[in-house]
């Protein structure tokens, strides 16, 4: 479904991604872990098409199409969804209005009929239950005055409504207490399916006890330096990121 080859990217002139290779198949959940500044969020933003990130080399093939050539909205319509680490507050735009416009843009692209107000409301009510979201939040402006937990739940709720093929969760666990984390993880697990792939980006192993990944990759200094199954996450939790650094120094000549 997704193939990333030798991806290099710059932000404000500094090279952050320095040759990422990753293949994700339909139905799989991949966790990407790494210390601060390793390039986790940059990878998420590059995949979703953020213009301030400059791809300098490599390619990304999504469903046999060149993802990097698509505008952000085209990627979304093709089925890529990014759950933001820091969802934006947008005063004056109601969540309902926004989400209906988004859903219809996606449906139009897929050759489906636009949903009317009644069907949309029914869909929304069903999906809100997944993350135990209060219906009152729907009529409020997007994320305005939402707590950290409500914002993250809103991201997963939007994902449920838009039904993407590939979901990228960028540090969805950051800033959540254990109860909110459990709710968000339950929502995410309910959305796992054979038709959907997920990339779960996180700093901590904690989230991966709830969303159990098929694969774990460690991102370090802009490259994936280690891959394994869920046991790798536990090992990392136990030994810390310094352990990766030590291993790297052993295998690479000094000064590389």
């Amino acid at each position: 479904m997704l193939e990333i080859k030798n991806l290099h990217a710059k932000v404000a002139g500094a090279e952050i991604l320095r040759g990422i290779d990753l293949a994700v198949n339909t139905g799989e959940v991949h966790a990407i872990m790494g210390p601060n500044g390793s390039g986790k969020s940059t990878l998420a933003h590059v995949l979703s098409g953020r213009e301030s990130y400059e791809v300098t080399a490599g390619e990304v093939i999504f469903e046999k199409k060149n993802l990097l050539e698509m505008r952000p909205e085209e990627r979304a319509r093709e089925g890529v969804f990014l759950a933001f680490q820091y969802p934006v507050e947008i005063p004056g735009v109601s969540t309902t209005y926004f989400l209906k416009a988004a859903l219809n843009a996606v449906r139009k692209h897929r050759g489906l009929e636009e949903v009317d107000a009644m069907d949309f409301l029914a869909l929304v009510k069903e999906k809100m239950k997944l993350v135990e979201m209060d219906q009152g939040l729907l009529n409020r402006p997007i994320n305005e005055g939402f707590s950290g937990g409500e914002k993250k739940r809103n991201e997963i709720f939007q994902m449920a409504v838009l039904d993407p093929k590939l979901a990228i969760l960028d540090e969805t666990d950051s800033g959540l207490d254990i109860d909110a984390l459990r709710i968000v993880a339950t929502g995410v697990n309910a959305l796992r399916s054979k038709e959907r792939a997920m990339i779960v980006i996180t700093h901590y192993q904690r989230l991966l006890s709830y969303i159990v990944p098929d694969y774990v990759h460690v991102l370090f200094d802009g490259r994936i330096v280690k891959s394994g199954d869920k046991r790798l996450a536990l090992e990392l939790e136990e030994k810390g990121y310094a352990w990766i650094e030590e291993q790297l120094q052993k295998t690479q000549p000094v000064g590389f």
Binding site: E73, P91, G92, F98, L103, A105
Partner: protein, 441 residues
């Protein structure tokens, strides 16, 4: 090119013409008022960029066009009016004015409570309605303001609204001013007098429009007297032709415990200047001025407001928002003047501007003048562009870049729109702006 001096002479010539045409139709006191106004205009002349109050708005653009007094010709209008007067109707009473003249054939007054009088101002003067002489031209200062002086000298008709003590109007009164320029460029001077008695309540919509390609000049003056504990909502919707010039002065005189709510929405016109002045002349008055101006292309929209806190315990709130695109220019000048006699005044003023293009320009000048120590006053203004993070967020959900920009632009204006209490007016404006800003896909 017409020089300012030539323009002045030409408007003075309009006066002789109007004086001859009107003959004995208007009363002696009005004739004297006109004469005083035209002679004061002769002394003042038109303002220039050297006048502090006109620093950013060059009226020479208006004076370049040799406008002729607008004819009162409804026939030219009747055949295709529905096609271009798209302001829609509101529940309540609607009065239509063509080139400032009242047109009963297009108007429908509906059911009004006993004692409420609405209609043509010229007719009210002729009929010697007792309150006209005591209020007309008592508030809008023709001694100091050139365009008010011109209107006072050259006014031919307009609206009057009188709501006696204790009466409450259910629906709004809509005053629709249509300019029909005909063959050449024309000027009209609509005049509106609104007198709301003690404890009475009314909501009035003033809207201006014309054919989209016509060149004309509207120079309007509105005076509103708000009696003790009276409540007045005033809405102004300016949708003039994009080649038209629009000058408007609104003077509100608020008495003890009165409540004045003003909404001013400017969408059309090549050059627009709105002056809104509210005098809180009794204890415990409340005043809210809300405004929205949306300009694109080469449009110029200037909003000047002034709130005078004269007596204690007055509250004023002001929120003006501007959206400027293309090479348009906006001006906001809001003064809050707290007199020495106005302790416990509470005033707050906000002006926010959204610039959609590199060439759009805004001059914003909030001013507080406070002569009493025991007051609470604040002001603030912002100028910004659309937030890139918000645009990206919307795009990342599948919404196109144009649609995302339009949605955010609309959202910027929405809090001003949401303050409009007349449902149909709010909905209509909502549709206008949705059409304007939700065009993309």
């Amino acid at each position: 090119m017409t020089t300012i001096a030539q323009a002045k002479t030409s408007y003075q010539a309009h006066f002789s013409q109007v004086a001859k045409e009107l003959g004995q139709d208007w009363k002696g006191w009005v004739r004297r008022l006109r004469e005083t106004a035209i002679s004061r205009f002769g002394e003042m002349g038109f303002p220039t960029l050297r006048d502090e109050e006109w620093k950013y708005t060059n009226v020479a653009l208006i004076l370049d066009t040799p406008f002729q007094p607008a004819p009162y010709d409804v026939r030219s209008l009747r055949s295709d009016m529905p096609a271009w007067v798209s302001l829609g109707s509101f529940e309540g009473s609607e009065m239509v004015f063509v080139n400032s003249h009242y047109s009963p054939e297009f108007s429908s007054l509906g059911q009004l409570p006993r004692g409420v009088e609405v209609g043509s101002l010229a007719a009210a003067v002729t009929a010697e309605a007792r309150w006209v002489e005591s209020h007309l031209a008592r508030y809008a200062c023709y001694q100091e303001r050139a365009f008010v002086a011109l209107n006072t000298a050259l006014m031919q008709d307009g609206a009057f609204v009188y709501v006696p003590e204790g009466k409450v109007l259910e629906g709004p009164i809509h005053l629709l001013f249509i300019s029909a320029a005909g063959k050449g460029a024309t000027v009209s001077h609509p005049r509106i007098l609104i007198v709301i008695g003690k404890g009475a309540q009314a909501s009035i919509i003033e809207s201006y429009t014309g054919r989209q390609d016509e060149v004309y000049f509207t120079n309007a003056v509105t005076e509103i007297v708000i009696g003790e504990n009276a409540v007045v909502e005033h809405y102004k919707l300016q949708r003039e032709s994009e080649r038209a010039f629009h000058m408007a002065t609104l003077e509100a005189h608020v008495e003890r415990g009165g409540n004045f709510l003003s909404h001013s929405v400017s969408l059309g016109g090549a050059l627009t200047r709105n002056e809104i002045n509210a005098i809180l002349d009794g204890e415990g008055c409340e005043c809210a001025l809300n405004g929205l101006y949306i300009a694109s292309g080469e449009q110029h929209i200037d909003n000047h407001t002034r709130i005078d806190h004269v007596k204690p315990h007055g509250t004023s709130r002001e929120l003006y928002k501007g959206i400027l695109d293309g090479r348009s220019r906006g001006v906001f000048n809001g003064k809050i003047y707290v007199h020495k006699t106005a302790e416990k005044s509470d005033a707050k003023q906000t002006n926010n501007n959204l610039l959609l293009s590199r060439d759009a320009l805004i001059d914003t000048k909030p001013q507080l003048e406070i002569y009493n120590n025991d007051v609470k006053c604040s002001h603030g203004s912002t100028i910004g562009r659309l937030d890139q993070d918000s645009i990206f967020y919307l795009r990342s959900r599948g919404i196109g870049v144009e649609a995302a920009r339009n949605l955010l632009t609309y959202a910027f204006a929405s809090d001003v729109i949401n303050r409009i209490k007349v449902g149909p007016m709010r909905e209509q404006l909502d549709q206008l702006l949705t059409a304007k800003f939700h065009g993309g896909s």
